[in-house]
């Protein structure tokens, strides 16, 4: 009965497409697609979603003992066949198929053919039998595995891998430029499209040999000539340009990464060159050092969010609050001397204390209250309390500012008692202490403990003497 109700055209279509698919899969190597047909392949990523959903629904109904509607099965099977064939067309764009694509293709073909078989069984009235049920189970497995392989082809093999902490990929003390730095950048930004499975533009970027071989648009890497190397030149094109790499939608390289690649190519694209072999003047040295320590903005990424309205409310004519950069919650505070100084506006910034990385209180009559506030600014990197009456007792409050990089405390009454506090400031790089009661011995002692610290004691006396002795006024008149 059921046979008669069926449209014969559906049978023909399913048979025809199945035969065509088998033909394609077998004679893969001999097939050359006309342009328009190849273009049909581009629809694969769109239509593939239909068979996945429809087949899974059909299997669910079948396995739970419900009747699978004929229309559902027909559409599911047809979409599976069309998807497999379009997928085959798309696969033809990749000249040499890698493992992933190979398996995806055969598994996908399998899904479509098993679906056709199901259609045949269903039409013979074998819907409820053990054969169909087994076939349905196999089908689920095939759909899942095919989909997974397909996903890896488009998004890269690592896509579903558990997130690994990027810091684990630490650059060694004396890195090999190619193996430890360049490949990290390429793996991160290029290889997801230029790998054996998805060889875009016939270019493989997984090893140096392949890079030197280049892709379909010619030479990718010409050692010593970054301008002619497409590896570099394409990075510099405007993002709107078709040729720009990585293409729109993919994460672009950072300026630092571009420069590293560029210098590496300029230096001959060697795979043995080590960091220690570079002369100090080589820009690559600074670039790689920059890679090792996080840049300012990423350092501030974890600061709590501050609203613009908060900034506005806490500012006044003599207190300026600025963001360190756009989209950054790190703040820089400048306080200027108002006609009548009060501490309240400074203390009121308590609620944004964690966001303050730069604070300028120089020249203000600050006291204990303000310094208590400063002590709460845990992320402070830059502090100016020069030309203020701060004393040792108040400086003591600063001892927990672990990120403090610069401290201006010149022209203050601080004494040697503060040295022990300065010693605790592990990140301190610049210290301005002229015109204080600090003794040279104490500072010498401090310098021995923190060798990276630059202590500024005012203008070099030799230069000062020279300037005073050679005053320009006499001749100018």
């Amino acid at each position: 009965m059921t046979r008669i109700l069926k449209n014969r055209w559906v049978d023909y279509a399913i048979l025809g497409l199945s035969v065509f698919l088998i033909f394609c899969l077998i004679f893969d190597a001999y097939i050359q697609l006309p342009n328009l047909v190849a273009w049909l392949g581009r629809w694969h990523p769109l239509i593939l979603h239909f068979p996945i959903v429809l087949l899974l629904i059909a299997v669910f109904l079948g396995l739970t003992g419900k009747k699978v509607p004929d229309e559902l099965l027909v559409v599911a099977v047809l979409s599976a066949l069309v998807t497999a064939i379009s997928g085959f067309f798309l696969g033809k764009e990749t000249p040499v198929k890698g493992d992933l694509l190979y398996w995806h293709q055969w598994l996908g073909g399998g899904v479509a053919l098993v679906a056709s078989l199901w259609y045949v069984l269903a039409n013979r009235g074998l819907s409820g039998t053990m054969y169909t049920k087994m076939l349905q189970v196999v089908m689920v497995g095939l759909v899942v595995v095919t989909g997974h392989y397909g996903g890896m082809v488009t998004h890269g093999e690592e896509f579903l891998a558990l997130p690994t902490n990027k810091k684990e990929k630490e650059i060694p003390e004396n890195p090999v430029i190619y193996a430890d730095v360049v490949t990290t950048i390429l793996d991160d930004k290029c290889v997801s499209c230029h790998n054996p499975n998805k060889k875009k533009g016939e270019l493989l970027m997984t090893n140096l040999e392949e890079l030197l071989k280049g892709g379909e648009s010619g030479q990718t890497l010409i050692p010593g000539d970054p301008i002619k190397s497409q590896l570099i030149s394409r990075l510099h094109l405007p993002t709107e340009d078709e040729e720009h790499m990585p293409p729109e939608g993919k994460a672009p390289l950072t300026q630092n990464e571009i420069e590293i690649l560029e210098r590496w190519v300029a230096l001959g694209a060697s795979d043995t060159l080590r960091f220690s072999q570079l002369p100090e003047s080589e820009p690559l040295v600074a670039l790689i050092k920059g890679l090792k320590e996080p840049d300012a903005e990423s350092k501030w990424a974890s600061l709590p969010v501050v609203a613009d309205s908060t900034i506005k409310n806490l500012s006044n004519d003599y207190l300026t609050i600025e963001r360190m950069a756009a989209n950054s919650n790190a703040l820089s505070i400048d306080v200027f001397s108002p006609p009548e100084y009060i501490a309240a506006p400074i203390i009121a910034m308590n609620r944004i204390a964690a966001n303050i990385v730069e604070l300028d209180l120089s020249g203000l009559p600050i006291g204990t209250a303000e310094m208590d506030f400063v002590a709460k600014c845990q992320n402070l990197e830059w502090l100016e309390v020069d030309k203020t009456p701060v004393t040792d007792a108040e400086v003591e409050k600063l001892e927990n500012l672990k990120n403090l990089r610069l401290l201006k405390i010149y022209e203050t009454p601080v004494t040697d008692k503060s040295i022990s506090v300065f010693k605790q400031l592990g990140s301190l790089k610049s210290l301005y202490v002229w015109n204080t009661k600090l003794s040279n011995e104490a500072l010498e002692n401090l310098k021995n403990e923190n060798s990276g610290l630059v202590i500024n004691l005012g203008i070099d006396p030799e230069i000062e003497t020279f300037f005073v002795a050679r005053d320009s006024v006499a001749v100018a008149k």
């Binding site: 420069e259 820009p283 840049d295 300012a296 903005e297 613009d308 004519d317 003599y318 300026t320 600025e322 963001r323 360190m324 950069a325 756009a326 989209n327 950054s328 790190a330 400048d334 200027f336 006609p339 120089s362 100016e384 020069d386 610069l406 201006k408 010149y410 610049s430 301005y432 002229w434 500024n456 005012g458 203008i459 230069i463 000062e464 020279f466 300037f467 005073v468 050679r470 005053d471 320009s472 006024v473 001749v475 100018a476």
Partner: protein, 487 residues
């Protein structure tokens, strides 16, 4: 209360023109929004730079402010920083055509049938770890050679003063664009609300001078609050800032309150943003009545500082006084401090005139750098020293090594920079043995602007202002950041 009622009469605060212009933006953005629907799914939380609010750097800056010691007239590189012994060896010989290579000349030398090479009027020595060559005219700058970076490969498009200085200040040879300082004020906002963010100080040497016009510090098409404010020497640094006799500060306050109400009413009627800008400027002027005299009062500077800058700095209107002033303004959060020292146009009598000019600025320029350094301000203040172009390696007029002149030369000249994220102690760029053409690392004026903006945390390609249908940049459509100069 009354004011609120007024506002309610016209709650949209728009007039016909604003209504239509905003309507078109609204409809346009709807249409655009529908075209860009895929973007809705990108889910990236980052805003593109162009949409970011003004007054915030694009990325964390190295320099927060600039002190630009402009040497107006075009100081000769051959008597300052570009040492060329070949000129001495080939003294008096005609400049080979292969070197001049078709370079256009000004009307002042184009009539000359010979271009005799002229060696430096003074001697050069190398200084510091960097081994920078500095002429004997600049002993103090020589002393701080390791603090500064000399760029010997600057080049410009203009050959005459006005277009050249306009080009340096605004990125265009034709007047009308905003000045560098205005762009910085527009892009970064003000650090201290009681002072203008862009201040200009001028001084004049005894050498041959060319005019300075206020167009050089104009805000062009940017909001007029970004315009440079010229502080004069003497009793009234800002003209008409002080109250007339018999007006007390509270009278003034009262007056301003009333005027600002009137202005607000007008703003409600017309929706013209320049009115708001004007109200803000009145308020700033009121605060400047207190802050300017305070900043300008150098009598509190200790003896040691006066000695450092030279006794000149106590004479108002000298370059030394302005340099000291510049430091005080920088300390008080002025974003861009532009000094001009006139008198560097040595078409004749170069040896004596240039020595005098150098005397005017040498000690104070170097003192400024050292003073900023001891205050830790060199870490976030960029100092720039240079003119609008260089001078020719051949003499203008009669050949006389004792008394000669040099004409304008745009193809290669020297400037120096210090602090603010610039590598110290670097000698950047190289000219040929005649000092005529650049052979290594050229730096165009657009590159110079791009680099300074980068140091200030601004992407020169992103910071634009749309005016008359076009987006304008300080760097026009050119300019590359010179990374080698950045620390």
């Amino acid at each position: 209360m009354k004011e609120e009622e007024k506002n309610n009469e016209n709650p949209l605060k728009v007039n016909r023109r604003h209504f239509f212009s905003q309507l078109s933006v609204g409809i346009g953005s709807l249409a655009l929004g529908s075209l860009l629907i895929p973007d809705l799914f990108k889910g990236s939380g980052e805003q593109p730079l162009a949409q970011q609010p003004l007054g915030i750097p694009h990325f964390a800056p190295k320099a927060k402010r600039v002190i630009y010691l402009f040497q107006a007239g075009g100081p000769s590189q051959f008597e300052s920083f570009d040492y060329k012994p070949t000129l001495k060896k080939r003294m008096g010989e005609d400049l080979p055509e292969s070197i001049r290579n078709g370079q256009r000349l000004t009307g002042m030398t184009s009539g000359q049938d010979k271009f005799p090479l002229m060696p430096s009027a003074t001697n050069f020595k190398q200084y510091g770890q960097s081994g920078a060559w500095v002429s004997d005219y600049f002993p103090h700058i020589a002393k701080i050679a390791d603090e500064i970076t000399v760029v010997k490969s600057m080049h410009t498009d203009a050959i005459n003063h006005d277009p050249a200085i306009t080009f340096f200040q605004t990125g265009s040879q034709i007047s009308g664009r905003p000045s560098m300082g205005s762009w910085m004020s527009y892009g970064l906002g003000s650090e201290n609300k009681n002072l203008p963010s862009f201040v200009v100080l001028t001084s004049r040497g005894k050498g041959n001078s060319q005019g300075l016009y206020s167009k050089l510090w104009s805000s062009g098409f940017l909001d007029s609050k970004h315009q440079g404010v010229m502080l004069r020497s003497g009793k009234n640094p800002v003209l008409y800032l002080n109250d007339p006799d018999g007006i007390s500060r509270s009278d003034k306050r009262h007056l301003l309150n009333e005027v600002s109400q009137l202005n607000k009413m007008h703003h409600v009627e017309t929706g013209d943003d320049e009115i708001e800008s004007r109200i803000a400027q009145y308020e700033m002027a009121y605060r400047m009545q207190m802050s300017v005299p305070d900043v300008m009062d150098i009598s509190k500077e200790p003896e040691s500082i006066v000695k450092l800058y030279g006794e000149d700095c106590q004479v108002p209107g000298t370059f030394a006084a302005n340099a000291l002033q510049a430091r005080r303004l920088a300390e008080n959060g002025v974003r861009f401090i532009q000094l001009y020292h006139q008198g560097w146009d040595q078409h004749a009598k170069l040896p004596t005139a240039m020595a005098g000019q150098a005397k005017d600025v040498d000690q104070a320029s170097a003192a400024l750098v050292m003073d900023l350094k001891q205050r830790g301000m060199l870490e976030d203040t960029l100092v720039v020293w240079g003119g609008e172009f260089g001078r020719t390696n051949f003499c203008q007029g009669k050949f006389d090594p004792k008394d000669f002149g040099r004409d304008h030369h745009p193809r290669a000249f020297s400037i120096w920079m210090a602090g603010g994220g610039i590598k110290p102690g670097l000698n950047y760029g190289k000219t040929d043995e005649f000092g005529y053409n650049i052979v290594e690392n050229p730096v165009h004026v657009h590159d110079f602007h791009a680099t300074i903006m980068h140091a200030m945390g601004l992407d020169h390609e992103q910071m634009t202002y749309k005016y008359q249908g076009r987006r304008f940049r300080l760097t026009d459509v050119a300019g590359n950041v010179i990374k080698d100069l950045l620390a």
